[in-house]
């Protein structure tokens, strides 16, 4: 048994042990629930009760799925990772052929008998798992040959998703895969080289972008060039954040949020609502909660008994973090606007389900022993 339990007060340790026996991690679970509660509080401020109820049901379902996922033996994930990956690739290919167009890109798949969903979401889980599965079989640090194959495994779905085009998700998926390679111990000079290469490729990438994507980059660089059009979102979100000040305007009193100046206030831009209504204090609390979850998950990664467990846990954590970072950086004007929600806070079920499945796997890996 992990020795940290002994340092805890007796009652806490008992509760932890009980949770442990149902394959849940107390710290992680509490962190996630706290974030979810925070998100619901803010959602209540900017959206109606119907929306709130909807989100409650979705998150409840997602949490239930997480609990189920945590019960399954981690070897199951190890064994089925390749199959999940292949299935994901096939579905992405299907999207390219028969996908539904929404907002100018093909992302959705309408399969009979199933709710409409984005196959790219599967890849956010499947790619970290499959890379972890692949490197688990190999010696670490990985050899060049293995790294190349791993990169191909990452590039294939990322490329398909980018072609939809959904650059944001593609980067998330690629990031999840690359995180595994990084955690597997790839040498620092390779990383440095890759970084330099990426920087050098930027001008080339510029020409590969769609017009609307270039527009987003230009808007990011200078939102004031079209404050009422393309720059509206970012100008208004920065205004919401900046006007919040230290303590905020109070829940329900955020004029930017409540008077519709802030677009997407319940979804991608909800951090701006937190900033406006609860101020720097509110933002700091949320960042701290995320830090708790991430720290705990990374700690759990180091405690995992197998290479697969470590790599999978670590990379799922990094995907989660990437969501947090990209979303907040985007809303406060440090990154171009890409459609990435704030994990477990933004209104919407899809990403919550994906991320909580990820944490379900993390808990499964951590709470099952002897594999």
């Amino acid at each position: 048994m992990p020795d940290f339990d002994r340092t805890m007060p007796w009652g806490t340790a008992l509760a932890k042990r009980r949770l442990y026996s149902v394959h849940l991690d107390a710290v992680l679970l509490l962190g996630l629930l706290a974030i979810i509660a925070y998100g619901l509080l803010m959602l209540n401020s900017v959206a109606g009760s119907a929306t709130l109820l909807n989100q409650l049901l979705r998150l409840g379902a997602a949490l239930a799925i997480m609990v189920v996922v945590a019960q399954l033996d981690p070897r199951l994930y190890l064994r089925w990772a390749p199959a999940l990956y292949v299935a994901g690739i096939l579905l992405l290919a299907a999207v390219a052929v028969v996908g539904t167009v929404a907002k100018g890109s093909e992302r959705w798949l309408d399969l009979p008998g199933l709710p409409r969903f984005q196959p790219s979401e599967i890849m956010k889980i499947a790619v970290p798992l499959v890379i972890a599965w692949y490197l688990h079989e190999r010696t670490l640090p990985p050899r060049t040959r293995h790294v190349v194959i791993a990169l191909v495994l990452v590039a294939l779905p990322a490329g398909l998703i980018a072609a939809q085009p959904d650059l944001g998700t593609a980067l998330m998926v690629a990031g999840g895969g690359l995180a595994v390679v990084f955690l597997a111990g790839i040498q620092w000079r390779w990383i440095a080289a890759a970084g330099a290469l990426a920087a050098a490729a930027m001008p080339v990438a510029w020409f590969a972008l769609y017009d609307y994507q270039r527009g987003r980059v230009l808007t990011f660089l200078d939102p004031e060039r079209d404050p009422l059009g393309a720059g509206w979102n970012i100008v208004q979100s920065k205004t919401a954040i900046g006007s919040g000040g230290f303590l905020g305007k109070g829940i329900g009193d955020g004029t930017q949020s409540q008077l519709d100046f802030l677009p997407e206030s319940s979804t991608d831009f909800i951090i701006a609502v937190i900033a406006e209504e609860l101020g720097l204090v509110g933002v700091t609390v949320l960042l701290a909660l995320y830090l708790v979850v991430i720290t705990r998950a990374l700690y759990l990664a180091t405690r995992a008994p197998t290479t697969f467990g470590r790599l999978a846990t670590g990379s799922l954590t990094l995907v989660f973090f990437a969501y947090v970072f990209v979303n907040i950086a985007m809303v406060c004007g440090m990154l171009p606007v890409v459609g990435v929600p704030l994990p477990l806070v933004s209104y919407g079920g899809t990403s919550a389900v994906t991320l909580l499945i990820g944490f379900g796997i993390v808990m499964s890996i951590h709470t099952h022993r002897g594999w």
């Binding site: 010696t139 670490l140 640090p141 995180a179 990084f182 955690l183 597997a184 111990g185 208004q236 920065k238 205004t239 919401a240 954040i241 900046g242 006007s243 919040g244 000040g245 230290f246 004029t255 930017q256 409540q258 008077l259 519709d260 100046f261 900033a275 406006e276 101020g279 720097l280 933002v283 700091t284 960042l287 995320y290 830090l291 991430i294 720290t295 990374l298 990664a301 180091t302 290479t307 470590r310 790599l311 670590g314 990094l318 973090f321 970072f325 907040i328 950086a329 406060c332 004007g333 440090m334």
Partner: protein, 654 residues
Amino acid sequence: MAPNGSNKATNIKNLERERKAFVSRAVATFAILVGALLLLFARMVWLMVYQHDEYRTRSDENRIQTVPILPPRGLIYDRDGDLLADNQPAFSIVVVTEHAGDVDATLSAVAALVDITAAHRAAFRERLAKKRRPLQEIPLKVRVDPRERAVIEVNRHRLPGVAIAPTSLRAYRHGPHMAHAVGSVRRIAEADVATLDASLYSASEFIGKRGVEAFYERSLHGRPGWRKIEVDAHGVERREISRRPPVPGQNLVLHLDAGLQFEAVAALGQRRGAVVAIDPKSGGILALVSNPSYDPNLFVAGLDAAQFAELSGSRDTPLLNRATQGLYAPGSTFKPVVGLAALALGLTDWERTYHDRGEFRLPGQRRVYRDWSWRPGNAGGQGVINLRAAVYRSSNTYFYELGSRMAVDALQEFTAQFGYGRVLALDVADTDPGVLPDSEWKRGMRGEPWYRGDTVNLAIGQGDLLATPLQLATMASILANRGRVVAPRMLKSSDGRLAEFEGGTLAAGNGGHVEGLSAADWEEMAASMVDVVHLGNQGYRRNGIAWFHIGQDIEYTMAGKSGTAQVVGIPQGAEYDDELLDEYHRKHAWFIAFAPAEDPQIALAVLVENGGGGSSVAGPVARAVLDAYLLPKMQAAPPAAVAEAQPAREVVDT
């Protein structure tokens, strides 16, 4: 199985090494993540602490709008409280273009429901091109009827940015009858915007143009209030934060007598011309008519280009205020002033006689100056006459002779006291000072010296002398007052202080006196003018010149003077219509009068353009206006003497 065992051994060793390697990577990752979170935190601190004030301001600018509140325009009443200019609530279809998106599509959608003319569209476009506040409602159609209003309200969900807005519109109950006196408000034009105080007119769509509406614009307009409101991103008001009520414009009471004005309009009938009637005691303008007129309400509703072109291009010039801007030679109405000038200058007296032979020549000159009575084979003029007879017979020859002996600059100086060549009116908009020529004027305008012949012409009110009906009414008032000068004015009273005047009130402006004459001179001149009307049954060529037309059945003493003014000829080579030439080249008919002569309560000037004879055409108009003003007063309190002298009024058709 050495290779196996060694393999297994390496594997175990590798596993431990891998775990350690992973831990070190995890630590590095953790450091990066914390660094990244700190970066986000720093960014938040930058926005929320260091740039807080700027963004706070921005967010307030987003949500708080200051909406000006239109001040109610001051009402205008006549002397008896008849409401001449009123504000009426009305509803307009307005468009907020920011919400409408495609303006063309919106206009088409509205046009499918209610009648939207090309003029509405044009005016809307024009308004759209001007400066405006963000989210300002631009009127598309003012004054919609209840059915149109309902149709728009019902279909609002299909018409983003379209709304029904309550407004207040100026309403002129008496329409064309008061147009030239009261003026009207019109839509603020691009040209006005440069000169207007933007803050004062922030809520206004209209500005007073012409007449009282123009002169008292500052007092009538009032000061706008404002409402600070919180709006959402769609411009929809959520709540009011604060409000300052507008300061309503001043209500004005005018000297105008609406009843008298209508009588004057009726008396003129279809003829082009003007009537200005003044209370000589106060200078208050009782009636100010210019015919033809226009409906001032048209300018409120909005004229399209064709309607405006029709008004402004008409040969009858309905937009011209003949009473204050029409310039005409005063003709014989000027003779009393010339006679008084000659008395003041010592060039004649009441006893001196002159033999009027029907024509006059300056010594050594061939040009013949003819009397009005002159016909081919001159019948001999008015005979031997004194100044009084020269006035009531309107002898040209007598005044030619006076003029020939008079220094023009002395005449000019004397005449200016009656308001010629300058604006005596205190608060009448758009008044023309006319022309009172003297030697200096002629040198400047014509580059010629002043000839004696010019003075001869001037002495019968012709030549370069030009004046407005308002100026002639002023002259009549001064004659009525026996020399006491009164400045004409529209305003009788107001609620409070007026921005138009220093000191806040309309200064008296009266009290001056025409100099150089005795009281007897003034009385005699008034008597001469009474003779013009009342002296009858004296035989051919002995009666007062207007007696036959207006003097035979009169119940009060009326002093008057007729005049006919020559019309400036069409320039040589100019194209003209033969049919029209006749009418438009006839002489203008004048009549000035005051009554009752012994204690004048009203003085007036009547002009009938191209009317022909002053006594026969303008005289009856003057009589009708005086009757309308005086008879009701006399019936209310009949002066014993008058009632006794003329118990029954005989109606004579002339």
